[in-house]
Amino acid sequence: MKTTTLLLTILLMGEFAGAEISVKKVTGELSVNFMDQKLWSQALPDETIGLLAQPVVVPKPTKTETQKINVAAIHDGKWIVFRVRWNDAEMSEANKLATFSDAVALQFPVKNNDVPPPIMMGGKGDPVHLFHWKYQYQLDAKFGKKPINEIYPNMTTDMYPMEFKEKGNYKEATKDQRDSFVGGTAAGNPQSFPKSGVDEIFAEGFGSSAVSDSHLAKGYGEWKKGAWTVWIARPLSYDNGSKLLVGKGSHVAFAVWQGGKKEIGALKSLTMMWTPFFIQEK
């Protein structure tokens, strides 16, 4: 069953097969100016890459919400930026229950083998390095993480544990003491902390993703007239991650989530084949 699915997807991807991204070198400080129009005007035209509803892991989307993504990339010898574009009828943010954010992720192999890792988030001993941009993370970075009384202004509370309105003779509780009543925060779950825009994630197979402590990558997205444009900038080389070298090639894979269509986690459109790219010396 799995082989048939894979074969079918490869056949379907045939329409967009042969996409290869050439990454031109530009002169500029891409770690800061990763959206600079003048620098981007030097990029080669976008490659169009086909996406498919995630076909292997339950829960699977019932249809491919995002059918293709346009990609271009540039580098400055130290940082590389990918610009991706896809159609999405509406901007979606999370926060409220059962709402989900628009998002895109880039996946790179960690080991620079001739054969890249299994496409579905890598494999045991063959990890992938993911750069996950979410519109909600961008809002966090801009406006701060919304407190619950702003998300649901009419939610009733009389008091939170150890947050006394009038503490009288009680000693003020420490932040750690108060946080012990908040599950995700006390467990140090990255989801429970304000985000910066792009998560760096490592995985060795689906279901195993873990958010990295590294926060070097930057990202920004703009939605206009039914389409997202997202720039994701990252250092070319990570000591313990994806190592991209000038004059060498590697592979990249993409996944897109349309939050308005309740896409999250395994409910996504993705590339079932790696797209090769080459980092030009000039």
Binding site: V57, V58, P59, K60, P61, T62, A94, N95, K96, L97, A98, T99, P147, I148, I151, Y152, M155, T156, T157, M159, Y160, P161, F181, V182, G183, G184, T185, A186, A187, G188, N189, Q191, S192, F206, G207, S208, S209, K262, I264, G265, A266
Partner: protein
Amino acid sequence: MAKVKNWQISREMEYPYDENRPKKQWSIVFDLNKCIACQTCSLACKTTWTSGKGQEYMFWNNVETKPYGSYPLAWDVRVLERLGHQEWEKKQPYYGKTIFEAAENHERAAHFAPEDKDWMYPNHGEDDCAGRVDKGDYISLQHDKWFFYLPRTCAHCTYPACLAACPRKAIYKRQEDGIVLIDQSRCKGYGECVKACPYKKSMYNAHTRISEKCIGCYPFVEQGYQPQCVTNCIGKIRIMGFINPPWKARENNPVDYLVHKTGLALPYYPQLGLEPNIYYIPPIHADREYLTQMFGPNVDQSISTYKKLKDDPVAQGLLVLMGCTDRIIHHFEVRSGIAYAFDEKGDEIVHVPVTEQMYSRPAFDEKFGTSRNNTP
């Protein structure tokens, strides 16, 4: 998909993981003839576990009125609707579909996805009678105008839908006591568990951005104490213990006695296929058809057994032991009109008379020179 044994539906069924029964299984029995919906259990739980940020709307324990109440809105009706009409003949295994068997190929379990608004009406339908009380109506048995209260916690199912649905395997079932937990460090807030659980006891926390659920009061259970919702119950309608599957049932284990030995306590919506571990003694005056769709075809038997309780001193003794100790009762004994509760080591925890002793006092108190008031 693996084939696992589900004793509540008397057959094997499909489940994504192999059968792996825990060493001990946390379970609670509720006597619905006694629940008054005082909501002390809900507040005991909330004060202990869900008074933090993002948990404001959460009731890991809730009490809803049947038939018209529900929290979240219409959880039972909507999952049954999704499952479709199924049949269960008396004295037969359940040959209809479970939610795993009814799942389409893109999902783990047949389910519906609640919206945030669905959680905001926990008292919806409270005390709403199943029919209008009109002029000239009088009480008859069975009541033709009826309602009852249904207190519910997470059932720490043997075959949890939440655990099956999580694509990250962030939910696990403890071997030592069968309690099902969402790993707060691994959850990424996808909400698949919230969608999959038919009883809707997995809940999303908008502050931490991950999901949470009833933890079975495991810190208490580990110390040999019953959960907060059980010990704080004013009506003493609950008892928590460790249930055995029927082929290992131990007659002097309180939960085994009520579920397996007497058949008094029944699982709710067993046809969904999760083998839930909370059990209910049905309210004897409520509509039988309604009770049967909720508790299965053994309702009539359970109710006739309950009505004959006056002939069963052991069952009487056990019901009287409920709410008399906050410690988990390993085994119990009833002799000479006294019910005894013992711990694992065999030491007595508590003993209570099955019938309250009658004390007569004279109307005039000689010592204080005053009359006693017969104030009810």
